[in-house]
């Protein structure tokens, strides 16, 4: 009994953590290039609503996912144009994106409230792996997007740390002047990674509306885009740590939900606060830790680059 509950909780944590993970991976890639994008919440919402729209229209979750990534990428393109070409303050452009995306998604989703998803993507049991004691039911009886994240995490790590384009990415984020002198096109690289970041945030949004919920509710991300930003700091811009962090945050969300079902005496409203409280506490603890260890953000993060 105890074991079953733990397995169920772990499986729920992985599922709840997946949208955070996609969004955080996207933001890690974007911030590694030296651009802060605070608009994740808006891009996730746009992804969630466009993904849902497309999936309802075509009855295909794959089309929904594609539409969500396009929507996230399109919003990210605004941020890229603003911050790179027009050299607008990255913080204020990101805030504008978050607010704009929220408005856009409510506008587009007006008639989707209460509409059921025609095809619900089922979970896939991975042969062999899903039979392993504990690990199987917790990690390998999930849906395809969860498996996608298992692949994307090591891939992103390898890309950033072991490939030539990854080296260029890090160079642009740490010292754009030097990267430029090396012959790397700073603007092009930043554009590319902002777009990739937006597409992954859109994908995270689609996970919510197509897999996790599955339905469209106004502002359904409920701050997950902002939690993903905290996760990036917690993960020290590393995809591997982002995986652990996302599941931990997912676990908190799943735990609150479960305590509620078990009929605890705590008010459900306090349980709903848990992920946000946890984010604040983790952020503060982690700020102390990273100062002591002298680790931090990419050196050029937040600074517009002006080529002389």
């Amino acid at each position: 009994m105890e074991m079953d509950a733990l397995i169920a909780l772990t499986a729920a944590a992985v599922s709840a953590g997946t949208p955070l993970l996609y969004a955080a991976l996207g933001e890690i890639l974007c911030e590694r290039s030296g651009v802060l994008n605070l608009g994740i919440e808006g891009m996730m919402l746009a992804g969630a609503v466009c993904g849902f729209l497309a999936a309802v229209a075509t009855e295909s979750p794959a089309a929904g996912i594609a539409a969500a990534m396009l929507a996230g990428g399109a919003l990210a393109a605004i941020h890229a144009f603003m911050t790179i070409t027009l050299r607008v303050n990255q913080i204020i452009s990101g805030l504008a994106l978050a607010l704009f995306g929220a408005g856009l998604s409510s506008y587009l989703g007006k008639h989707l409230i209460g509409v059921p998803l025609p095809v619900s993507p089922a979970s896939v049991m991975l042969p062999g792996l899903s039979e392993i004691h504990f690990i199987g039911p917790a990690f390998f009886r999930q849906d395809l997007l969860v498996y996608g994240s298992y692949i994307l995490v090591p891939l992103a790590w390898y890309w950033i740390h072991r490939t030539r384009p990854g080296l260029h990415l890090r160079a642009v984020g740490e010292n754009p002047d030097t990267a430029d002198a090396m012959g790397v096109n700073v603007y092009r690289i930043r554009y590319a990674y902002i777009l990739i970041g937006g597409m992954l945030a859109g994908l995270g949004g689609a996970y919510l509306s197509l897999f996790y919920a599955p339905c469209w509710i106004e502002n359904m991300t409920a701050g997950r885009g902002w939690i993903a930003l905290a996760l990036v700091i917690f993960a020290v811009w590393s995809p591997l740590r982002a995986l652990a962090g996302a599941w931990l945050f997912g676990g908190i969300e799943a735990l609150g939900f479960r305590i509620q079902i078990l009929g605890a005496t705590v008010s459900p409203f306090f349980l709903k606060m848990l992920p946000y409280l946890f984010t604040i506490v983790v952020l503060i603890l982690f700020t102390v830790y990273s100062r002591r260890k002298r680790i931090g953000a990419p050196a050029a993060l937040g600074m517009p680059y002006e080529r002389e």
């Binding site: 603003m82 607008v88 856009l104 409510s106 902002w226 946000y276 984010t279 700020t287 102390v288």
Partner: protein, 355 residues
Amino acid sequence: MLIIERRVSRSTAFRILSPVMAVLAALVFGALFLKLSGFEPLAVYGGMWRGAFGDAYGLSETLVKAIPLALCAMGIAVAFRMSLWNIGAEGQLYAGAMAATGVALSFPDAPAPALLPAMVAAGMTAGALWALIAAIPRAWLGANEILTTLMLNYIAIFWSEYLIHGPWKDPASFNFPLSPAFAEAARLPAFGDTRVHAGLIFALAAAAVLTILLRKTKWGYELRLIGSSPAVANYAGISIRRHILIAMAISGALAGLAGMAEVSAITGRLQYGLSPGYGYSAIIVAWLAKLNPAGILVMSTLFGGLLVGGYAVQFIGVPAAAVNMLQGAMLFFWLAAEFFGSYRVIHRGRLQEVR
């Protein structure tokens, strides 16, 4: 090739025209969007205009919405001036509303001259304290205030929901989540038979006081200095830590005052949907007004009008969210306009190599 160059000086005409152009560009963008979703843009804008500014009722409702927007935006502007990104006005507003409600419900028999000032004090203190929860870790540890203030918004809103479902639930509300209605003495007076209330005086007074503080005092100067060059401010011996705490406390107090005014004057009780996102729209208001208190009064009237106009066109099927989208678009176009004010794009042939 196209070359982007910093302008040596910025023209006055441009400075005046750019906000107008940004608003117009956003309206054109919105029109395209409305057209694509099958609405007649001119009819929608006409309806919004008539709803918000067309008659005395619309105008009074526009002012009703402008009051919390202006108070929150002024608070935000104080923090933003020192590059302190307080995006927690929404939560600070709720904190103020809860504290004011607490006072109103605890002293149902107190006379208005004692009760209203106490509610104002409670609302402002609660808003300031709520902001300090984020400001203290920011000042001492450097914890990112954008994320902490935002998380605190969700926490404050859930807390208010807890109160109206639990300890403060009105026994006479037939199970609706509402606090009991305030006594008449706890209601801020309104002008005539409109809903425009004394909060308008708070907003005007706040604008006047802030203008003087920001322009004429050492504090205002130091705030700007920290915002533009923290290193210089540090060398000059200015305590950045102290300024973070002061700016966030003022910021939160003003948002808390907005929350107090909403429960006291508009709803007369604590209930769901106290704010349709005033704290978030106020970020855009503050930025479009260039963080200037007088400009904020003008911009919040415009944004109040947008909200009221948005409600007015809902009956022809336009989602109210169109307004939020339009506000976001205005900020983008404004940011773009700023760029063309400080840079110019010139077309030039390939550079000749120097021999």
